[in-house]
Amino acid sequence: MKKLLSGNEAIALGAYLAGVKYASAYPGTPSTEILENLAKYDGVRSEWAPNEKVALDAAAGACYGGARALASMKHVGLNVASESLFYLAYTGVNGGLVIISADDPGAWSSQNEQDNRNYARFAKVPCIEPADSQESVDFLSTAFDLSEQFDTPVIFRTTTRISHSKSVVNVNGDQRVEHPGKKFSPDPSKYAMIPANARRRHPWVEDRLKRLGEWSSASAINRIEWGSKKIGVITSSVAYQYTREIFSEYSILKLGMSWPLPEKLIRDFASQVEKLVIVEELDPVYETEIRALGIPCVGKEFFPITNEFSLAVVRDGARKLGVATLEPVTTTSFATQVPTRPPGLCPGCPHRSTFYSLRKLKVRVAGDIGCYSIGVLPPFNAMDTIGCMGASIGIAQGMDAIGANSDKEPWVAVIGDSTFLHAGMPALANIVYNRGASTVLILDNDITAMTGQQENPGTGVTLSGTQGKKIDIEAVVRGMGVEDVFVVDAFDEPEVEKTIKQAIAIKDRPSVVIARGPCVFLPDYPAKFIDEVDDVKCNGCSLCFRVGCPAIFKGELDASTNKPKALIDPLLCVGCDVCLQVCPRDAIFRANN
């Protein structure tokens, strides 16, 4: 039976068919849907973890215990989990262990581009890369077999374009392979990495890498598609799809295993083609290694190191290489100017009042990763730094420690509920322990919103939808020793503003403000009225435009001020009332829905 599956849906299916018993992840674009889909299958325990490192350690435990296990994350998630990856490279596995790394070339929804094939090289573990949804299913079984055969964790790398593209998969009934599970047999020399064991283990890791390379040279996971031998291209992942279309008449070595490289296969291929070309997205991983083998090739001088590939990019490089059959790329520009649609906080977003207040209070803001990163954009312009998950609180402590957190220009940290539980807690402990005096704003919208409303420990609901135990953020903060904790209704703008003011005035000890209000996409979002503008009272003062709501737009000019009056789109407005609260002329009112 043929099914149209996204790469992520295919990975979930592949994991199920491979007999995975335990899977753990922290949501992160473009990886999120893998666990969401895996959770639908029986016989797999799928969990959201508070962060990627915890997810990988839990998967490691399940694999040590003998089950096939999987951890899934976005590329920067593997940074968080990298310490675990490195000890796992030494301990190896018992049941198979696969780590999904979904990279984001083009940084569609990430703070940086990074090529996680580098992690495979760095940690000396194998990396497998599918090029479409069918391979996402098939290669996952191979990855688990390989993991068990070579006693190693396996990185399974996708990119946004693989994870989120849909292609046809042949599904032939339920072929899940049940693995009975191998019992854990105590062996500290394998599982307990004290220095003496680690030193003994390292030569074994190096030898494993050699054996993996030999396996790869003989494996069908890499394949040669012979064409004209004037040019031979080595490629993988989605770059293979572009290559197949652009270099259609030439020879292609398509790598399914991108680390360690199949040296023998590459030498054979290179010796039979006149010119060797490497087409790889992001870093020159193959190119560097192939050059080091003494094999002449070209790559990054034609195919860029930055940004996502596309047919146009690969075609452009191929033309520069002299693939003469290609006509120049022509794009037609049209006589139209269309403004972009920058991301904005949704109508009804509980974060709106906080950013309106922060801008008004003119404080400096150390921001974090989540929907609220949008606070950096106009009209709020209320975020000065954004780094990675949990960074806001550390940045605030550093500013405070050197005296930059002053009465004149106070610094606050802004972090979401899920991000606080992910990496914010140790940073808050740092402030409390070292007697810092920062103000931390926790925007608690009761969900991991940016990746599409996933549950987290703060919501208390598990990935499978059962009731877990809810972690009380307020109690956590108090338990850490913060004495000044303010909880405020996020939809009450004047109260939010007053509370932030009150908290930043405390200059000799840390303070925390928890602004609580559900994400507008949650079923328990308080359905209110629709807000409307009184055309007579509104004089175009433009204050309500500063709440940055997509439902508010500019209408006709006011006769006295000559400024546009406000209008509210009844289809978009959900009646959060923030604009109503900031209007100084009471020109916005609740209309019956």
């Binding site: 043929k2 569609w108 849909k166 292609s167 046809v168 649609r341 940016m450």
Partner: protein
């Protein structure tokens, strides 16, 4: 059959549903399909572009200047994605604007031999009491355009299979009115 269709609209207009319906119709007829949805960080109200390739299924994305059809659910998003359309291709747009598209664009498309079909699918959907059914009205309309890869009957059957039960009737009505508007 080889056909490249680019779908463009705004988050919330049902671009993804349209993509899935067209893909399902192609698969039901035995064709291979590939495609991808692209969007930035935006949630509601952001630009959404969805690539659908039928028959030829190598790269998931359509290169600019090669799309056979542009199916645009919003007039501004149509402008933004026009460079994807090939010479001799077709642009099918939902627009509630007067004098759309702009004269200069109309002239440019004519030079390129691009067929232009504009329909007010929003008005059809609103008339049926469900504004969000405009996407299905546009699909119905598209089946009447020359060279569109799916017949009216095959497409209608797919919509009937894929629409949620409680909106089935309104969706089929929207489809039929889209077809009528094109006939």
């Amino acid at each position: 059959m080889n056909s490249k269709i680019l779908l463009a609209g705004i988050g919330g207009q049902g671009v993804l549903f349209a993509h899935q319906a067209l893909a399902a119709c192609a698969i039901a007829q035995g064709y291979d399909v590939t495609g991808a949805e692209t969007h930035g960080m935006s949630q509601r109200g952001g630009s959404v572009v969805s690539h659908l390739k039928i028959g030829d299924t190598s790269a998931p994305l359509i290169r600019q200047g090669t799309a056979d059809f542009l199916l645009a659910f919003d007039p501004a998003e149509a402008y933004r994605t026009l460079p994807y359309v090939r010479r001799g291709g077709a642009v099918i747009v939902n627009s509630n604007l007067p004098n759309y598209p702009d004269e200069r664009v109309r002239a440019q498309l004519a030079t390129m031999g691009v067929t232009l079909c504009v329909i007010n699918a929003d008005a059809i959907a609103r008339g049926l009491g469900r504004a969000s059914a405009a996407n299905v009205a546009l699909i119905g309309f598209a089946t009447t355009c020359d060279g569109f890869p799916f017949t009216r009957d095959a497409m209608r059957e797919t919509i009937a299979r894929s629409a949620p039960e409680r909106f089935l009737e309104v969706n089929l009505n929207a489809f039929d009115e889209g077809v009528n508007a094109g006939s």
